[in-house]
Symmetry: C2
Subunit: 158 residues, 2 copies
DNA sequence: ATAACTGCAAACTGTTTGCAAGCGA
DNA sequence: TCGCTTGCAAACAGTTTGCAGTTAT
């Protein structure tokens, strides 16, 4: 995501807060800046750590209280890969139709688009008489290059 | 699943335990009987409750220690729908290629087949240079009939 | 002014584990 | 007998929450 796009997303979130009569506090500003200054997927704990680098007063509680606001606003996407903690995706609003593959070797998450899959999903929903609200295709995979060479150049396997 | 098939699956699991030099204890037997006497998806807590109806001595710890054995044996499938607890599917070995849709109205899980999706998944894995290890397509949906009529006759919305 | 928000620490939930006793092979 | 397995209760990890003080509006 480019810098301009990031500013746009931040602005949208501020609007979201204002519309709900929520206050724009310093801590929230720091958290927002942190979330939308990266393209990486993160956990609550990672977000806390990053935010504290900018402002050490940010507390774990505030991070946990802000995350639901971010997902409600549809600007951040929550993902569950069967690990005991959740991952968050700050690129969601830019391309809401992507899915994720998580590498079991290094836990790195790779995004991919697939309208094909989305079409099938809606087809399935229709057939069963449901309206699909959200979809989460989680592929767990291992890195081919890593296995062959013992190392790999993917950003995903460092 | 029919009664015969259930016995077959139980037998396979006993074999799995024997091969690993694990013991066939009373508690394990009760848990196995419970798991494979239903077609329903369940949580650890539900399994504990059901097992205790047959034998009140079964403890939570044993249930939690047995579940990984069941999933390792590939006779039961573990699923994560973003809820704080996991669901388990006792029909997995019968049709390992099905996926799941969870109703957000009643949390009932509906199974569906889709080889189409599996094909696409492998295609994606290839393209990205990964070997797909496991896939989990989670559709969260709401029931159309329920919404229209305020009630519905699906087994899924009671 | 005042109601929303904060940090802290305690509580909570689902799951795991150390231990002494029990029991299958 | 031997050591795997058990139930219990305490521990654990991630997340949520009550409270008293703080701050945005």
């Amino acid at each position: 995501m480019e810098k301009e796009a990031r500013e746009e997303v931040k602005r949208k979130f501020i609007e979201f807060l204002e519309k709900k009569d929520f206050r724009i506090t310093n801590q929230r500003r720091v958290i927002i800046d942190t979330v939308f200054s990266t393209d990486e997927h993160f956990t609550a704990e990672q977000l806390l750590e990053w935010a504290r680098e900018k402002d050490s007063s940010v507390s774990r509680a505030t991070v946990y209280r802000t995350l639901p606001l971010l997902t409600e606003s549809n600007l951040v996407h929550e993902m569950d890969f069967g690990k005991p903690y959740k991952f968050y995706d700050p690129n969601y609003s830019e391309s809401p139709n992507h899915n994720h593959l998580i590498c079991e070797d290094c836990e790195k998450i790779v995004e991919f688009d697939s309208e094909k899959i989305e079409a099938i999903e809606n087809e399935i929903g229709d057939k069963l008489g449901f309206t699909v609200k959200s979809q989460n295709l989680q592929l767990t995979a291992s890195c081919d290059t890593l296995k062959r060479k013992g190392t790999c150049d993917k950003k995903s396997c460092s």
